[in-house]
């Protein structure tokens, strides 16, 4: 009954076999008497770019993703979802579905064994709807059957009698109109947060204002939600799944199943991307319920349409901004009201409001601020985490405002930004002093200096139409095509904030296998594609001076790592791995110190040897270890943060901030409104590039998602219903849409962070969008107050 993955997935996560072509030497380093020299000889450590340990399995098609799992005697689960955004459930009849051939179980809210409520911040979402449904797509019943098609067909036979109710659909109205129905008993406001600094009613020479809206974006990870649950003999369950955070899933799942957390054992399967969309539960409780009920392994896999209903999206937002400045271009005030539509359940809405308001003026120094943020319940699809959480929306608004202000002042938009850029020692509107490098002005200068594309394709004598807006659809040969250039810069907080202690845990073991010292790193930190497995190996190599580092499969048998989100894993799990490695190293060195008399501080591990500062190589690590296993488990807690008060003040609301700047070059067919992004360049400060190649990959991928939001990605919601739940109608960038990039990475280390790292994953998603829209504005002269920009906004 072991899942098919049991033979492949664990190896998928191990790093026994080094990739051929990896930039590491297979021969042992020959120690000399210069320890510094030795350090250079352990290849694949921090700061280098060794290849990912799972790359070979992935290109062979042998990497077991959650949707690939299989077990003997396995059933397939399916989910019945509400067709209404708001309705009362009068009755549910599962009888006809149960009688269908091949159906093994049909479950409803009554069958939830434990607490029928879950949620990341607020416990407000039922595992299966009880008396009401609050959004189109809410889970109402579950089926398990022999064949996935049987399960799907059985869903049609579940008879649910709904009394349709009037839905709440407008977040801004919900914030101010108490006469609207209450989506939840406590009212429709999930969080209201103001940030007030200086004199919020200050006046200025030049004032610009605008109303900006951001559409609902989807994470659109390619690997669908999936899990395989296997009932265990102790009455518990083993769940193999794709997630961002094993322990938070387990806590919520165990409570819903009425089991002890120890009875719910979770193992990570291959994860096909995440981007925030796997923070909330999807199949977890459902598939376990079906397995426990039937006593058989059950697998659930969403198809693409269901995936659109089965995970949260990026909050759509409406944002009113007013910027005031002196004639010289010094910002005097920013006033803003931000409305975030959280949809039917809270999910990460409180954090979106916190991030959106605290980061709402952008990476600028502003003396007078009033920002108010509302995160609202509505009967729209639930919104929660997506890359750039809560920072993406205001960045589009404040950067649009900076361009508008520059125009009003007759000033170069980059100069205006540099003039007002925040820097080390400045404080944010919430009162947090940036006690680390904040090279915003430098990033803007650098991105401006990156090479530009030579000429507009439209102006070349013989344009390749594939390079023009509209591409191979042959809509133009260059006539009506105008080039534009635009800039954007952003700020994003890294790690969880406002008092959260989102620590990580690492267990590191050092032992000799077949004559060679080998380290094993065990964490629960989700590898979602970003390359965390590689980073962990690199840290262990650097700290322990060994070449071979295996990564234990992620599971719940080690302490929590927290979520692979908020650009935090290299920081916190990197920190935990570093700490555990150092503890192991300490134990080894103490042993040697006792033997040879050199103090521990003078000793180090390098190139598989124990080396003394004074007397050089003392011993082979393998010989020192002998048959012993040295192990240590350590937690890494980032520095403490504190909640915002009712004025939005906090000495330190956030752990760290990261910055990136983009320049976009676009060609716009001004007659048809078609946009071709010709080049997209980025400068980003990453503190310390632990793996420079992977950092560039993050910047490229993040920029592509920002491009998607700028010109194509929007979940269309009409009357609470998603109109485009497919890749046919919800478009994400293809290889034709994504232009070449110049990526410029700088390393201004953060003294508070392990190795000086700064979160990497999110900023490029944030600053790319406003840069592209600015470029389209430059080409068209249109105001463009909504993203994504569609042809209808350009040709009006």
């Amino acid at each position: 009954m072991s899942p098919r993955s049991s033979s492949t997935a664990p190896t998928a996560n191990h790093a026994h076999t080094r990739e051929r072509g990896a930039p590491m030497s297979n021969t042992h380093t020959t120690p000399t008497h210069r320890p510094q020299h030795l350090d250079e000889e352990i290849a694949g450590g921090v700061g280098e770019s060794p290849l990912r340990p799972d790359g070979s399995l992935k290109v062979r098609g042998d990497f077991a993703y959650a949707s690939d799992l299989w077990a003997e005697n396995m059933l397939w689960g399916a989910t019945l979802r509400s067709p209404h955004p708001s309705a009362r459930i009068r009755s549910i009849d599962v009888g006809p579905a149960l009688r269908m051939d091949g159906v093994r179980a049909v479950l409803t809210a009554e069958d939830v064994p434990g607490r029928n409520l879950y949620g990341l911040k607020d416990l407000d979402q039922p595992v299966l709807a009880e008396d009401v449904v609050r959004y189109r797509g809410e889970a109402v019943a579950l089926v398990a059957a022999d064949h996935p098609e049987t399960a799907r067909r059985a869903l049609d036979l579940v008879e649910v009698d709904y009394e349709v109710l009037e839905p709440v659909l407008d977040a801004e109205r919900a914030a101010h109109d108490d006469s609207l129905p209450r989506v939840h008993p406590g009212g429709n406001t999930v969080r209201y947060q103001p940030i007030v600094k200086g004199d919020p009613d200050a006046e200025a020479d030049v004032v610009v204002s605008g109303t900006y809206t951001v559409g609902m974006q989807d994470q659109a990870f390619l690997g669908p939600e999936a899990g395989l649950a296997v009932p265990a003999e102790d009455g518990g369950v083993e769940l193999y799944l794709a997630t961002q955070d094993l322990h938070t899933d387990r806590k919520q799942t165990a409570a819903a199943l009425g089991l002890d957390p120890e009875q719910v054992r979770m193992t990570m399967s291959g994860v096909g991307g995440a981007f925030g969309g796997r923070e909330d539960l999807s199949v977890q409780v459902h598939v376990c319920m079906l397995a426990l009920h039937t006593g058989r392994p059950v697998k659930m896999v969403y198809n693409r349409e269901e995936s659109f209903f089965g995970h949260v999206h990026r909050h759509p937002a409406t944002m009113y901004y007013e910027h005031g400045a002196t004639r010289d271009g010094d910002l005097v005030f920013v006033r803003a009201r931000l409305y975030f539509d959280g949809g039917a359940y809270a999910s990460k809405t409180p954090v979106v409001v916190g991030n959106g308001t605290t980061l709402g003026v952008g990476p600028y120094s502003v003396p007078n601020v009033r920002i108010e943020g509302w995160g609202m319940y509505t009967n729209n699809p639930p919104c929660g985490a997506m890359r750039g959480l809560g920072a993406v929306q205001p960045a589009f608004a404040y950067e649009s405002q900076m361009d508008r202000l520059a125009e009003e002042l007759g000033m170069d938009p980059v100069r205006l930004r540099i003039r007002n850029a925040i820097s080390r020692g400045d404080s944010t509107p919430s009162g947090q002093v940036l006690d680390y490098p904040a090279p915003v002005a430098e990033l803007l200068r650098r991105v401006r200096e990156l090479p530009l594309p030579r000429e507009s394709t439209a102006e070349s004598t013989n344009p390749d139409i594939r390079d023009l807006p509209g591409g191979a659809s042959n809509t133009t040969h260059g006539e009506g095509v105008v080039r534009g250039v635009g800039y954007g810069v952003c700020i994003k907080n890294i790690c969880y904030a406002e008092g959260a202690d989102d620590f990580s845990t690492a267990r590191v073991r050092l032992q000799v296998v077949a004559g060679e010292p080998i380290a094993m790193v065990h964490t629960a930190a989700a590898e979602v594609g970003q390359g965390l497995v590689t980073v962990q190996q690199q840290i262990a190599r650097t700290e322990l001076g060994v070449e071979r580092v295996n990564i234990h499969p992620n599971d719940t048998s080690v302490g929590p790592a927290g979520s692979s989100s908020a650009s935090r894993q290299t920081y916190v799990t990197g920190g935990a791995v570093q700490a555990a490695c150092r503890a192991v190293r300490e134990q080894v060195l103490e042993r040697v110190a006792q033997r040879c008399g050199d103090p521990v501080e003078r000793l180090s591990l390098s190139g598989g040897k124990v080396v003394s500062e004074t007397s050089g190589v003392l011993a082979d690590l393998a010989e020192v270890l002998g048959s012993e296993v040295v192990e240590a488990t350590r937690e890494y807690h980032h520095r403490e943060t504190f909640p915002l008060d009712e004025q939005g003040h906090s000495e330190r609301a956030q752990v760290q901030h990261a910055f990136s700047a983009h320049r976009a070059v676009v060609d716009v067919d001004t007659e048809l409104g078609l946009v071709k992004v010709v080049q997209l360049d980025c400068s980003q400060d990453v503190g310390k590039a632990v793996n420079p190649d992977a950092v560039v990959g993050q910047i490229q991928g993040g920029s592509a998602q920002g491009l998607g939001l700028a010109v194509m990605e929007e979940i269309q919601v009409d009357g609470g219903r998603i109109r485009n739940p497919s890749f046919t109608d919800y478009l994400i960038p293809t290889i034709l849409d994504m232009p070449p990039m110049n990526v410029d990475v700088i390393e201004r280390g953060d003294p508070n962070a392990p190795y000086g790292v700064r979160g990497v994953g999110e900023p490029p998603t944030i600053s790319s969008t406003p840069a592209i829209v600015a470029a389209i504005r430059a080409a068209t002269g249109k105001a463009l107050e909504h993203v994504p920009v569609g042809p209808e906004h350009i040709v009006e």
């Binding site: 072509g21 098609g61 991307g273 990959g697 490229q700 497919s726």
Partner: protein
């Protein structure tokens, strides 16, 4: 129905195949070949791309019956035992793989391209891979990988295709 087909050069049989099952479902769930992926099952993402009689197709759009007595080639058949194929090697080396869910389909599409077109231009690479979505990489490293694989294939790469 009973389905007979050749996959990666090996004759295979699947029993009790339903009318409505796709070639993708049969490969993944009945023949133990889950390498081809299922990101949309609507012909939009290319993650399920396989060779059918030597031509790349979306396996999710091919009814299982259409593969009767045909030759199918999947990502699992690209490598020559231990030796990765040029596109596979290049994807690993160039960092074109992040989550890897798009990778199997991209590899088949790219393999087809470099077999058909000896020295593809960037525009040709983009056109050939336009049906394959990747959400992680932004495609830049995929471009690099395909250029690299094409160069290795034609032997024009200076260092045997290794970066």
């Amino acid at each position: 129905m009973r389905l007979n087909l050749t996959v990666n050069g090996r004759p295979m049989t699947a029993d009790d195949v339903w009318e409505g099952e796709s070639l993708l479902y049969v490969l993944r769930e009945r023949l133990g070949l889950p390498g081809s992926k299922n990101a949309c099952e609507q012909g939009e993402c290319g993650s399920c791309t396989v060779y059918l009689e030597g031509v790349p197709v979306c396996a999710c759009l091919v009814a299982a019956g259409q593969a009767q007595d045909r030759e199918v080639g999947t990502v699992e058949g690209l490598a020559d035992e231990d030796e990765l194929s040029p596109v596979q090697r290049a994807f690993v080396d160039a960092g074109a793989v992040q989550c890897g869910f798009c990778t199997p389909g991209l590899l088949v599409a790219a393999d087809d391209l470099i077999n058909r077109v000896p020295d593809p231009s960037d525009a040709e690479i983009r056109e050939a891979l336009a049906g394959n979505l990747c959400r992680c990489t932004g495609y830049e490293k995929i471009m690099e990988a395909v250029r690299e694989a094409a160069a290795e294939k034609t032997g024009s790469s200076s260092e045997g295709g290794r970066r």
